[in-house]
């Protein structure tokens, strides 16, 4: 089966990094692409970005936040375990310009997606400025990794516990106002953040790519769950995206669509927590 986990690390509370054996994905994957995985039979298929790849070693790196049942179950796996199903690379790769100044704006878990992009942009000879945001210092991830690649890195926290206090959009606006010639912006993070990043760049006419994260089922263009409206047209993010022209994306629709299953997801997670507690109780019983 393969897909063996060979390294794990906790980057922040409920945020983990896994390195996994997946030779063909390591060789063919490009920045901006993702995989879909399943942890167990009858499990959900969830998309995660390929955060890093090591083609020589045949491994890929995933960085994920435990937000619901599937990501929590994934987080329970350890070195040596295998991931049941792992399909990819999926989606279109980021179009990487050359010789431009590109600002990558990441927020929260989005920094994991920014990481391979900064790498690819640097390799293609661009000047790269990374703006990394988190709610608080504890939740900031991958700063060192990205800082070592980018020409300049600005870090912000909402509560001011680290770096600049405030939002990534403020840092971006300041950067533009200070006269930095920005040719392109790439943004990945919470949908609301991306919406405001796009609002900030629009008046300046700076092309802005937003990496969208709609709910997906198959990830192969077969179901349409991932549809988003871009420039008034319906597009399937799993095959035509996940990156789109941020100025044309209907972010409000995406926010509404992402929230649709919240009650069900919560029920599923609660159910899972209950099962795990019962299991723990059983184990205590057995050993006691």
């Amino acid at each position: 089966m393969g897909n063996k986990i060979i390294y794990t690390k906790e980057l922040a509370p409920k945020t983990k990094l896994f390195e996994i054996e997946a030779d063909h994905i390591a060789k063919r994957g490009r920045a901006g692409q993702f995989i879909i995985l399943r942890v167990c039979d009858e499990g959900e298929r969830i998309p995660l970005t390929i955060a890093n790849r090591n083609p020589d070693k045949g491994t890929i790196t995933l960085v994920f936040q435990e937000v619901g049942k599937t990501t929590e179950m994934l987080g329970q796996l350890a070195v040596g375990d295998e991931i049941l199903d792992l399909a990819g690379p999926l989606g279109k790769a980021t179009e990487i310009p050359t010789g431009k100044t590109v600002v990558c704006v990441g927020g929260g878990i989005g920094n994991a997606v920014v990481w391979p992009q900064v790498q690819a942009l640097k390799e293609a000879g661009n000047k790269v400025i990374a703006i990394l945001g988190a709610r608080t210092k504890e939740l900031l991830i991958l700063e060192e990794e990205i800082m070592s690649l980018a020409d300049m890195t600005i870090t912000t926290t909402d509560d001011g516990s680290y770096g600049r206090k405030g939002m990534v959009t403020h840092a971006l606006e300041d950067l533009i106002e200070e006269g930095e010639k920005v040719d392109e912006v790439i943004t990945i993070g919470p949908v609301v953040m991306m919406k405001f990043v796009c609002k900030a760049t629009e008046p300046h006419g700076i092309p802005t790519q937003a990496s969208l994260n709609p709910i997906m089922v198959d990830g192969t263009g077969m179901c349409g769950a991932c549809r988003v409206t871009v420039g008034g047209k319906t597009r399937f993010a799993c095959v035509e995206g996940p990156e789109f022209d941020g100025h044309a994306v209907d972010f409000d629709e995406l926010i509404t669509r992402l929230a649709y299953y919240q009650p069900e997801e919560r029920a599923s997670a609660d159910n899972y927590h209950r099962c795990r507690m019962e299991e723990a109780a059983d184990n205590l019983g057995n050993h006691g």
Binding site: A87, V217, G221, M222
Partner: protein, 494 residues
């Protein structure tokens, strides 16, 4: 036991109608996902087979897209030689348990049967039902009609997509001694047979068994491998001596009306995938992929996919399931049996209604679907009476879920990464010649990716023709049969 040395006396069952098949009662079956028709017993199959009069012209054979020798297998069933009958079918069709269940027989073998005289109240031979019986018989008696596998040729073949077209090509080529690897993008093999057609119409166990049988024949299955992404077609082409593309129809069509991206609007593919492939009906205890608790639902369309969606929805116990279709009953493309079953199960049919808008409930989800009522006008070029709007007649259906089932285009996954492969510009389907060969010499294709959404048996027929051509190509370098040989061309696509 029949004594084969003496010519058996010809016994015919003169009943005008088919031996009825027992079914789960409508009120029971909408509470579960178990199969609806229960199949024939040995006696019932025997009786039904005896209705065939073995007529001179045997039009049924030509009515079957893969040309099964129908009178021959019915005769064997009439002699209670079930194993022999099964062998006869398997010469042409290796999935009888599946085709017996899902073929639109009323448009194919049974439509042209000599017995079929609706005006005289006479039904055709129950070919599909007997075929299904044989498939089930094999399973119940653990009969594996192991095909003879030719000595290894040393040639390698890649099959992309594991729907009926890919599985048929894989099985045939393995029998001919080639080393076959099947690549599938999803986590389970079977294509629509797995993710689309519901359990209550075709139990997955049948498919799993057939696939296990193929594994025993040495066919290798690689799941989670989206060719074009995981590996370019060019690389596959170099790694294998020949390649078959059976990637199917995929890309669901939407109506293009306002409100289509509201929460609660699904393509039939998504709805059926959530429930079938991902087991959503067991959520949250048995499976993790959520399906919303549905109160009132409208399914748009009238093909098999629409019937499957409506009947699947019904089993999730909503208050009401509407079926909305812009034409009249005559034009409904679904199998008659499915329409009939849907009616029995209490699906509320609304014909001559054309959806024009999906209305927001104020929270970004579906509140209602607005339809324009239609009437039948003058016949158009195709001779069908065209539906035209009745002015001022607008009707709203209050619903929380809408499933759109109006067809689908070719699967975009492979094509997107291989623009050099010749395609029909308008439809996006892959173009092939009479021998299923694409614009790349060692790449062949068949099934829905070539025809657009069609049927299981047509996809299988194409898989078979392609396998024959690929075999010739592998052995001689030319997919066409030599002058002194016969060879099938692709079954009629129209």
């Amino acid at each position: 036991m029949t004594d084969n040395t003496k010519k058996p006396k010809k016994v015919i069952n003169k009943s005008k109608t088919k031996v009825p098949m027992r079914e789960q009662a409508p009120m029971d079956r909408i509470m579960n996902f178990e199969e609806v028709p229960l199949g024939y017993t040995e006696d019932e199959a025997h009786q039904e087979a005896l209705r065939c009069i073995d007529c001179k012209t045997k039009p049924c054979v030509a009515g079957c897209p893969v040309g099964i020798d129908i009178p021959a297998f019915l005769k064997l069933v009439g002699e209670k030689n079930f194993e022999g009958a099964l062998r006869k079918i398997k010469e042409k069709n290796f999935l009888p348990a599946i085709c017996g269940r899902v073929c639109p027989q009323e448009d194919q073998c049974e439509m042209v049967c000599t017995l079929n005289k609706p005006d005289k109240g006479r039904e055709p031979g129950g070919i599909g039902r007997v075929e299904r019986f044989l498939g089930d018989y094999a399973m119940e008696h653990n009969l594996t009609i192991t095909p003879e596998i030719a000595p290894a040729t040393g040639k390698t073949v890649a099959i992309i997509g594991s729907g009926p077209a890919g599985l048929t090509a894989a099985s045939d080529l393995a029998q001919k001694g080639h080393k076959v690897t099947v690549f599938e993008a999803l986590h389970k093999p079977g294509g629509v047979l797995f993710y689309g057609i519901p359990q209550f119409r075709m139990p997955k166990e049948i498919l799993i068994r057939e696939i296990d049988g193929m594994k025993d024949m040495g066919v290798e299955f690689v799941m989670n491998y989206p060719v074009g992404k995981a590996e370019p077609l060019d690389s596959i082409r170099q790694r294998f001596d020949a390649v078959f593309i059976g990637t199917g129809a995929g890309l669901p069509w939407f109506l293009g009306i306002p409100g289509e991206n509201l929460n609660g609007v699904y393509s039939a593919n998504e709805f059926l995938t959530r429930v079938n492939l991902m087991g959503g009906y067991k959520f949250p205890d048995g499976a993790d992929t959520p399906v919303k608790k549905i109160k009132r639902i409208a399914v748009i369309g009238a093909g098999n996919t629409a019937m499957d969606s409506a009947r699947t929805a019904k089993r999730l116990q909503p208050e009401v399931v509407y079926l909305v279709y812009r034409r009249s009953r005559l034009e409904m493309p679904a199998r008659i049996e499915e329409i009939h079953h849907a009616e029995q199960e209490g699906i509320d049919f609304n014909l001559l209604h054309s959806p024009i808008e999906i209305i927001d409930d104020g929270k970004g989800a579906v509140g209602a679907i607005r339809c324009q009522e239609m009437e039948l006008g003058e016949p158009d070029d195709s001779g069908r009476r065209r539906p035209i709007p009745i002015e001022g007649k607008i009707r709203d259906f209050a619903v929380d879920t809408v499933v759109i089932s109006i067809g689908q285009g070719p699967n975009p996954l492979l094509s997107a990464d291989c623009p050099e492969l010749a395609r029909d510009e308008r439809r996006g389907t892959i173009v092939i010649n009479d021998y299923a060969q694409t614009s790349f010499e060692n790449v062949f294709a068949g099934g829905d990716i070539v025809t657009g959404g069609a049927t299981v048996i047509l996809a299988m027929g194409q898989g078979r023709v392609a396998a024959d051509a690929m075999h010739r190509y592998l052995m001689t370098g030319d997919p066409a049969p030599a002058d002194n040989e016969s060879g099938d061309v692709c079954p009629n696509l129209t």
